[in-house]
Symmetry: C2
Subunit: 358 residues, 2 copies
């Protein structure tokens, strides 16, 4: 059985296409009291960009703190808050920001129409009802959240995505102008999240021509950008946005691998941000991806990036065990990396050895 | 202003995924008398494949002759015939075949909900109402019809696509098994339609990173298939299907060029099939695409393909003039090829010289 994939419904793409957001939302504002829920990355607080958001007086705009990864608790709180206003449901939940903000938008829109807590829906195909309309607008590239069918959430028990037929956004706005102010090294770390996705997708058992093809092209662009002389030229900003889009799309047809499986574990204890965490982990994965780890280091060198070291140095043996426990639950990823006999290869001791080096 | 693109709604992809068509249509059959309109390429007449089509007794299945390109007249006739049955509207119009059959499905589904003749809607954004659900299932690769927002129709006056926000299909089934029986040289000609699309899209003024990127990857796959030793290996059948999908998608973000502009002219008089016509024209376009024409000839050589010669030999001067007239109406294509001053470069004499060589 193949999944009948439902990609993002509509795509507005082009430099300064963000200026058309008002028109797009206007088509959805059919009642006089129709309102939009905007979620905006806190990074934009006090910045002129906020004035460009086409909000109406009845709309709700929430600044989203992105220090932590998206949490089921925050999803539930925001949904309860909006429901408590007795204004009805928003005509669109608009996420403007990085993976965290877009994943919040994608999760919150679902929880308006599915009862209970978002914790109940972590996993595959638990969502039964279509959510309200959702618009995602990336202001940083590499997360893939703009195109993916998954909204990754950290709950009280697990960090796991909500994934299903209703989870992709309805509207995507790809405006390369919006990502030009992203500071380094955040831009690099986030871009590498997608670069690593591609490497993982292309090196494993769960393959398809479509996934390989999208991943190959995404990788080609990454090499163009990060092995070249000016990764921040205007053309490269746009290329990075497209590489992220294609890389994110390729995952729909494939699977992530060793880096994400370990990085999810690392994040549960250290609270390290996803992009940074992936870089820290990937740097130690020569055993799995020898050529790519070399290339990744070359990209770091050219772009003067120095990743954190000693991330696990202060961790107790119990904490390391906890990381290993989480990593070993990600069976699909390990099967993709090592095949059906993955358990013989991915031992606790191997994971411990790798984690201790990070 | 950028177009808010509406891609294909859902994608079922995988070897033998066609077997899930019954389930997909089942979700749409909500009333007891719900019926599906199947349009099937006449190539399958008498073949076992017909038994695999999940049709119910109340469905209508029409075999579509693909000797001619799709015509507005046939679209209007089929719509009138179905409406005359007073069964209501089909829950899906399913096109199973090549570009002709898929374009028929995409046009007919629109004409169920838009008054008058399809002739009135040839062009950009004339369609005002959403059509009925439409499913496209390619059984040959290279047309791009499975993914494009255009349904190309030949009317009494012009050959021109219907294009707009409601024109892409709702459901796509990409099953590489379905294209394994396509005979040569049809398969080659049709594949080259997409190869040429890519060359045209990548060499012109109307460019975008997204269009270039999808086109580049599509080209990479074509080279893999047709410059290699066995273009018909099972892996290459699947690759061809994906190359066609990505190439078709790239056109959404770009434009075709000199080959299509001339080939449309050539087809109005000679009735030559689109894929063959493109190959005949492209073979004479060294002036526009020098490297690619060389590569194209190499692909022909490796795959033992000999294209028709002397196609215009029997044409009268009036007929050649008619071809030139049609070609010169395709302003967007010529602007893409030569820029705003295209009229200085693309003279009647230049086109006449090229056409006489074909």
């Amino acid at each position: 059985m193949f999944r009948n994939l439902k990609p993002v419904g509509r795509i507005l793409y082009g430099r300064n296409s963000f200026d058309q957001l008002g028109d797009i939302l206007g088509e959805l504002r059919i009642e006089q009291d129709s309102f939009v829920l905007f979620l905006v990355d806190k990074y934009f607080e006090g910045k002129d960009f906020l004035k460009r958001i086409p909000s109406h007086p009845q709309d709700i705009l929430k600044m989203i703190d992105t220090i932590d990864e998206p949490k089921t608790k925050t999803v539930d709180e925001i949904v309860a808050e909006i429901k408590g206003l007795n204004k009805g449901l928003p005509v669109s939940v608009v996420g403007i920001g990085g993976g965290t903000v877009m994943d919040y938008a994608k999760a919150i829109r679902l929880m308006f129409t599915n009862e209970g807590s978002s914790v109940q829906y972590q996993g595959l195909d638990f969502i039964k009802n279509k959510g309200v309309h959702c618009t995602v607008i990336p202001t940083i590239s590499g997360t893939g959240a703009e195109v993916s069918m998954t909204t990754v959430l950290t709950g009280p028990v697990k960090k796991l995505g909500i994934k299903g037929n209703f989870t992709a956004a309805d509207q995507l706005v790809l405006d390369p102008e919006l990502i030009t102010t992203v500071p380094e090294p955040i831009r690099f770390y986030t871009a590498m999240d997608c670069y690593i996705h591609n490497i993982e997708a292309l090196n494993g058992y769960r393959k398809s021509v479509m996934g390989d093809s999208l991943g190959t092209e995404s990788l080609r662009i990454f090499r163009d950008i990060y092995l070249g002389s000016d990764s921040r030229s205007p053309e490269n900003e746009e290329k990075l946005m497209i590489a992220s889009y294609l890389g994110g799309l390729s995952l729909t047809y494939s699977e992530v691998g060793a880096c994400h499986a370990i990085s999810y574990g690392l994040a549960t204890v250290t609270n390290i941000h996803h992009g940074v965490g992936n870089c820290v982990v990937f740097n130690q994965l020569e055993e799995f991806y020898p050529e790519a780890v070399k290339e990744f280091r070359e990209m770091m060198r050219i772009n003067n990036i120095d990743i954190p070291h000693g991330v696990t140095a202060g961790c107790t043996p119990d904490e390391i065990d906890q990381m290993i426990d989480v990593s070993l639950t990600l069976i699909f990823m390990w099967q993709h990396v090592c095949g059906p006999d993955w358990e013989k290869i991915i031992t606790r001791e191997k994971l411990r050895g790798l984690l201790m080096k990070m």
